[in-house]
Symmetry: D2
């Protein structure tokens, strides 16, 4: 495909918050042409009618939602983004892949390599287990080399993105005990999707702080898969998500045991140097990873609507633990932006196209 012609893309299920954020990014992407958007609920209406916020884009006034059919999608688009509930996504992915479309799936359907783990965490038999081995886990900083040839990309969950990017380099470098990982996450309410449940009404969320899904949230499955692979042995993670009253953002605080004890200032300084070196080597050149220095700590308001992850760490000489903190936008870096980053790599475009 020519670098000058835009790539025709489609979004299936563009009416949720993740799909909507993907529309935002693809409408302005210099190398993508939004050729089709589907939604059973909104079929026939223009993008501008459903999402007035996009109405100043000429494309939003002409492009209409259609019923999702794989035949039409394959004709219209070279790359299809699936923003569907898990289970349903797999049903679309299989025929699309078979007919030659490249698929970027935002659901959980292709994130796990082991169908038994999928069944354990998602309480259903995987509909197309034979596709699992073909999917690339779309965490670009980790799987960059596999993405150009990928035809099926499984975008990571929002919580796993906020956990894996800060932890994987430490596990790979042997700097922490991989069995010690505790992840405490705060999420904005858009993470729950556009669900009509009373838990997500304004009055129920505003002035409310609450944990949920304790202790076995579904996102554990992919966190543990990736960390186990990096560690070379089975890893289980302690993970607690919390709902807090912001629209967007995930703030994750990680409690980790360094592989080496540090009893004095000198040992702590040496370990801190190793950590800096490890992160610098992993992410020093990454356009979307911001390693904070000095007294700065992550703050979700500095990453909202961007594809950036902020990471900072502190050694605690009193407890011997390492505290690592990260901030992302759950919709952009957690879903749609990371999907576009994968898309750029799949198509050979500059990785930051449409994301700066």
């Amino acid at each position: 495909m020519s670098a000058l012609n835009p790539v025709p893309v489609a979004i299936v299920g563009a009416s949720g918050y993740a799909g909507e954020d993907l529309v935002r990014l693809l409408l302005s992407h210099p190398r993508a042409e939004l050729a089709a958007i589907t939604s059973r609920q909104y079929a026939g209406q223009t993008l501008a009618q459903v999402f007035p916020k996009f109405a100043h884009h000429p494309k939003a006034r002409s492009l209409r939602f259609s019923e999702p059919t794989t035949d039409a999608l394959v004709r219209q688009a070279a790359v299809v983004f699936l923003a569907l509930p898990h289970g349903l996504a797999a049903e679309f992915a299989a025929p699309l892949c078979q007919q030659g479309a490249r698929v970027i799936d935002l659901s959980a359907d292709f994130r796990l390599r082991n169908p038994a783990v999928y069944q354990e965490f998602y309480a259903q038999v995987h509909p197309v287990p034979e596709l699992l081995s073909r999917a690339v886990y779309g965490l670009p900083e980790i799987y960059r080399s596999a993405l150009p040839a990928a035809n099926l990309v499984a975008c990571p969950g929002c919580y796993p993105t906020s956990v894996l990017l800060p932890v994987l380099p430490l596990v790979r470098a042997g700097l922490i005990n991989p069995l010690s990982i505790i992840a405490n996450s705060l999420s904005g309410v858009s993470g729950a999707g556009r669900k009509l449940e009373s838990d997500y009404l304004f009055v129920e969320c505003n002035e409310s702080l609450r944990p949920y899904g304790v202790p076995k949230h579904r996102h554990l499955a992919e966190m543990e898969q990736e960390l186990s692979q990096a560690a070379g042995r089975p890893v289980v993670v302690q993970f607690t998500p919390h709902l807090v009253p912001v629209n967007r953002g995930i703030l994750t605080t990680l409690y980790l045991a360094p592989a080496q004890h540090f009893n004095d200032t000198a040992a702590a300084a040496r370990l801190d140097g190793s950590l800096r070196e490890c992160y610098q080597s992993a992410y020093g050149q990454e356009p979307f990873v911001r390693l904070l220095a000095g007294p700065a700590l992550p703050d979700t308001k500095n990453v909202v609507a961007t594809n950036v992850i902020e990471i900072a760490w502190r050694l605690d000489p009193r407890t011997g633990r390492l505290v690592v903190m990260s901030a992302i936008d759950n919709l952009t870096r957690g879903t749609s932006g990371q999907a576009v980053q994968c898309f750029n790599l799949m198509c050979g475009f500059p990785e930051t196209s449409g994301l700066m």
Copy 2:
């Protein structure tokens, strides 16, 4: 003192958020008479002028802020609440105690028994170390028996309240390894007080999630003092506070290692039973501790403006850890309400007076 005559009380430094919440409670307290309020900034103005929200109380329209002088306070009040910055509080407490007033201090000045620890965490020499041994730590569920005779009460910090109430019974019962305690806390912005710093402007806090004070927050000192005493050996705690956009509330999530491993369902069920028994025995009859059962988890919106703490726990058979969660109002249970609970015990009033 007669049970029918109200006790005259004073609030020194009633212009911050904690002082304001104390005013709210004492204006309606059936056994207390708000006899004096002081504030250098507002001296001469009525309570109603400074806080319009109280103006429908007749007392608020007549009571004026005065300059704080210990002589006048001792004449006017039998019990004096100090809502002052640490350091300054100790300067008032000493002469007040000497002249016979009973003092309930909301600052950190009398929480620590060891002046060296005070100096380490508060970066100043303690002004009246000889008073430290006379102070009672005002956590009523733990120090109830000492409060009736107390003349100087040190109300716990808001974070320590949210950590100690759920953890102390477990440590006392030997159910957890006291060296394993990790506390992750989220706090509403009123916890920072009415400080004119740009960090606390609406635009900087709204749509923002951020950790701060990592890894050595001042409240660690009192947490560790109380936990060490309960454990019978030195305890250090891992504690990370976060600022989140609500006015009031602290949500604390605790990661703990049970003293006994549990490898199977039966062992987990036994341990869960022991935990329930431990909490039931400690708090089953407490009017302000709500032990959640079934699927319920703590939510700050259920405790705002009350003196209640909500507690729930979950064993994680995958990791072998115990997750305990608590919710309080940082101003009421975290400060002013707990102070009134102490006041009730000091005066022999029903413990719930003015708090239901």
Copy 3:
């Protein structure tokens, strides 16, 4: 009935936000005994199970929601509060009144004296028009004398309360042209009730400001009824409600034409004096009306969870208009608190019982 025995009361439909706030007030009311609460959805569960926030009240742990039947209600309660949707409320009110219960209705069913107006604004035939003439409009400052003998009270809507209290005295005194009234109101999201509509999801309301129901909101009917009666001629009102991201509160800004022009400072000062005199005479002794003086302007945060209305006014010599502003809590003064104020008057209790 004896002043010392509490009055048994019931709440029908206690699961919405208004019903919940009424539960809060009645649980603590010194002269009321919450004898029954009904809810089809929650029948069988205790109040504490449905609303954990009330669980520290012993009564909340014993009282169970029941199916609503008028026979049982009449046996259990002397006064029945109806917190039901309009239409349904009238179906309960009729048999309850007939069987001798006194009814305080929070819905719109008995606010309008003219069934044709009810039909115009609520798009249904009034089910029991013969009861309309017996109902007292429960705005206590205006209808105080009729409340002690009332057996059926129609509590005003939240918006009408915020408009009528500031405007009625001016109309009665002939100080404004009653045909000039423009009311611009902002409401917190609890005003929409606990409705599962996507418009009220957190993400849709947070960081959103929007008008709705323009130009013919249902609450106009009762505003115009009361203003027409005060003016002695038909009055129509311009009214625009807006949804803004707070839980509770209504801020209403009124644009009015004074009956007399004021062209110079002296005339403005005279008119301002008349306005002050008018408001002072109407509300100077009212426990729940706060007339702001000096530079103070209404702020909903000063009235949240109280029965107070704040009122301030400004003459604009540049335009010749009068701007009057009011703030209430839409749930408390707008619904439940005003209902309790009516209850107090009906039962001969001090008007502020349970409301300070």
Copy 4:
């Protein structure tokens, strides 16, 4: 200047919220090169250090804040944006203009043509009254033809933008009585700037709704200047701003008297047609004006971070009034985005450059 070489631009006073939003837009502008940013407070630090949120732009990591000196600014930039307090802005504008820079001023200093009005509303003598006649009022839809040749542009205030765009076409077309204008506006807290005043602390703004600046806000001066000019006679406006808890956004509701009465459905339909025609003719081709059709009403969440204004209107046959509503982002359309739109017109660039 060549269309292919970017225009070097500078921002003076880039540390407030308006300046920060301007930085956001200019960093991504395809035809502008951010050559200098000044701030006394931050001189020496990089843009990335002061605003971590921009740190993923390479330019933000290299560009440093400098002390503002007109000599340096003239050397570095062809166009200088002034994001300074009024009074101070004029002091910079005069020498910059004299030395040949083109100036886009975001303050109030050059918005008023009459220095006496400036003195009345801003309580100081205008420092360079001779420049007033040279300034173009930077409301592009109204003053588009004057902008290409302008060397000094006065960007309108945020409230005036939200009022003038919906009202000016109606006044020009004679569709409303220009003496009838009432504007009720709600503003997000960023409109107050990054001021350290307790009124703007999170806890004071969250869960608060309040009017302020009643009845003579400074922005009236420019509203009335522009409306008087359009009407051909002196116009005074009734304007009430309110502070509401969102970060960004202005929602303005306008109450207007149509020039022609409409007593029946047919007359209302004719008038509605005239209004549609008027707005369509004024804004039908405008890229940043969204005329809402059908049941849609403005919502600030649909315009946040964009340069778009949403406008809708309703005739009220009951009162004979016209209600017009608009929504903008107070920072982008209200300040920085509109400034960039002016910049595009001044430089001959497509008007939407850097704004879509």
